[in-house]
């Protein structure tokens, strides 16, 4: 068991990191910390992909000259380019999601003066209770 963990230490680190990220995203009440959690989780996935995509002794998937003016075309010399492509796409997605989440957080702070989503909810339910009380009063008026 321990041997397997040591052999796959990159993957083990990725799993631990993504666990930390997911827990932060779910359990932190502060939105900024939530967004940091999201980024940790995404980074863990990139580490996993990069670790899986790397084969020892092989070159990056960019054509290498073979010394006599040509290129080495054999696929066995290079690592698989797809994981790197996936990581790049993932980074783009994660950046845009982070930017959007931060923008919304800013808006929330402007409206409620807090970064804590529970506190915002509390202020919100207080407002809602007022509204509901008004609705009930109106209803009684109609019935009477």
């Amino acid at each position: 068991m321990l041997e397997k963990l040591l052999l796959n230490h990159y993957e083990a680190a990725a799993v631990i990191l993504s666990g930390i990220g997911l827990t932060n995203l779910l359990l932190q009440r502060n939105l900024i910390k939530k967004i940091i959690g999201l980024n940790i989780m995404d980074t863990a996935v990139y580490l996993f992909l990069a670790a899986k995509g790397y084969v020892e002794g092989r070159a990056a998937p960019i054509l290498i000259e073979n010394g006599s003016g040509g290129w080495i075309n054999s696929a066995s010399v290079y690592v698989n380019p797809v994981p790197a492509g996936l990581v790049l796409t993932g980074i783009v997605v994660s950046v845009s999601v982070t930017a959007f989440a931060l923008a919304l957080t800013l808006k929330l702070y402007e409206s409620y003066g807090t970064l804590n989503i529970d506190e915002a909810l509390m202020r919100m339910t207080e407002e809602q209770k007022d509204i509901e009380a008004k609705i009930d009063a109106a209803e009684e008026e109609v019935l009477s």
Partner: protein, 501 residues
């Protein structure tokens, strides 16, 4: 064989919507030109999907094809795939999207500031593009990218109505969605690691080999569980649905209609594709995921309705009812048979037509009552806005499963599909209970709307519904009756589509 024109339709549909999303912010912001352009583009894509459907089913044969994106052949390159099921779903998505926009044309103008309206159009176009891409894609990582595009657009469409409530709802929706898409991404990376492929049919072959030799069963189970949980959060399956009523209840009417009717469905169809095309029904059964989905589905059917019973706000009530309806779809998927999945797809179509109608109707009624959303404030509004009243009544009948309305057709096919299954008694009990619960909250709403109320009617804003509202509501009602009365050919078409999926 398929003509060259039809062959390019899946790609062109996505591309048109993407281009449209890019050019709408550049358009002049007067006379609502961006919205009209979006409607035009969506109807164009809808027409193309109808033509594709015709080509794929012409002459009683069922065709399907893979469209290679770029110049790399199958195991490496990216692919789209189209069959009758994909074509019919994208047609329905376009029609429902168009009707949600035109039906709520005037309420959108009231809720969204003029300078933001072309941003709203960008989001609508992006949502349509991502829904089409989720429907057509054959590549799991492309699916992930479009799931994220869908997430951003769906959260932004909630927040575009600027109020403290919608911002909070959008943030809550965003956080839950990000948890979901994070799980999906981890699962896709695990699956890529296990199978070495991203295209669905190649993954299916590799997973078949792994299962036959009993290797890597644990990682396979984990990745299936993660991807199902991730997509279940995004499609609001019951225990993960706490974000839905806030997001759908507080946003502007057009957004609520689009989110409830369409956005959830894109993710559910992705689950169906992953179950059916990537893992295969036998492997799903072997890993017990069908039972989990079935149990969660029937729980959602009951609990969604129980929550809806307690709502005083009409839009939140309809939003909770969506949770129950998503439960029906997942129950069909959980049956894990071709008939079950076909019934689930029929329910996707029915709900995509009925729920936007209900939200449009509720919007019209609360507009008539002077922008009040409380259920009791709507007393007697039927007589102010008859079209909205008719929409609410037809939608309620459909949700309860009254024969002749759309909901009846899909509930009947779900019932028939469950007879082939060992858990038939549970399915039937849940269907019956849920229908009664649906009636318990929809019937009072209809009665309230129909009750004459002279005192309150003085306060009503006496503007008649616009032409676009009337026309959209008429088309919604016609679709509702069409689906209720003539669903057999549609179900046969869906079954053919599922068979070649």
């Amino acid at each position: 064989m398929i003509g060259m024109l039809a062959y390019n339709i899946p790609f062109v549909s996505i591309f048109v919507m993407m281009i449209c999303a890019i050019i709408t912010p550049l358009l002049p912001n007067r006379n609502r030109i961006p919205e009209k352009l979006s409607c035009l583009a969506i109807s164009f894509v809808g027409l193309m999907s109808a033509y594709l459907l015709y080509e794929l089913t012409a002459g009683g044969q069922t065709h399907s094809f893979n469209f290679a994106m770029g110049h790399f052949p199958a195991p490496w390159g990216n692919e789209l795939r189209a069959g009758p099921l994909e074509a019919v779903l994208s047609l329905v998505f376009c029609v429902a999207m168009l009707l949600s926009l035109t039906g709520n044309f005037s309420s959108t103008a009231e809720d969204i500031a003029p300078k933001r309206r072309n941003i709203f159009c960008v989001l609508v176009n992006l949502l349509t593009a991502s829904l089409l891409a989720l429907t057509y894609t054959n590549d799991l990582f492309t699916a992930y990218v479009f799931i994220e595009i869908n997430t951003i657009a769906a959260c932004a469409i909630v927040a575009v109505k600027e109020s403290a409530e919608t911002v909070r709802a959008a943030l809550r929706y965003l956080v839950m969605s990000l948890v979901g898409s994070g799980l999906v991404m981890i699962a896709i990376c695990l699956l890529y690691d296990l199978t070495g492929h991203l295209l669905m049919q190649n993954m299916h072959r590799a997973i078949g080999e792994l299962v036959a030799t009993k290797r890597y069963m644990m990682p396979l189970t984990v990745s299936l569980a993660l991807i199902t949980a991730g997509l279940a959060i995004k499609s609001a399956l019951y225990p993960f649905a706490s974000w839905l009523p806030d997001a759908h209840g507080s946003s502007t009417n057009a957004s609520s209609a689009i989110l409830s009717g369409l956005v959830l469905k894109g993710h559910i169809f992705t689950i169906i594709k992953i179950f059916y095309r990537v893992f295969g029904l036998e492997v799903i059964h072997l890993l017990r995921m069908d039972t989990v989905i079935f149990i969660l589905g029937i729980t959602a059917m009951i609990m969604g309705s129980v929550h809806a019973l307690r709502q005083k706000n009409v839009k939140r009530m309809i939003a909770w009812s969506s949770v129950a309806q998503v439960g029906y779809i997942f129950m069909g998927v959980g049956l894990n048979t071709v008939a079950g999945i076909a019934a689930a797809c029929l329910h996707i179509i029915v709900h995509a037509c009925v729920k936007p109608m209900l939200f449009t109707a509720a919007g019209g009624l609360s507009n008539a009552a002077g922008h009040k959303k409380g259920l009791h404030a709507l007393m007697g509004t039927f007589y102010v806005n008859v079209w909205a009243g008719l929409g609410l009544i037809a939608g309620a009948c459909s949700m309860m499963g009254i024969p002749g309305f759309a909901g009846f057709a899909s509930k009947l096919s779900l019932t028939l599909a469950s007879f082939d299954h060992s858990t038939v008694i549970w399915a039937l009990t849940a269907l019956a209970t849920s229908s009664v619960l649906n009636a318990l909250y929809y019937v009072p709403a209809v009665i309230v709307v129909l009750t004459h109320n002279k005192d309150a009617q003085k306060n009503f804003t006496a503007h008649s519904p616009t032409l676009s509202y009337k026309v959209s509501m008429f088309v919604f009602l016609a679709l509702n009756f069409y689906l209720g009365l003539f669903c057999v050919p549609l179900l046969r078409l869906i079954t053919r589509g599922v068979n070649v999926l």
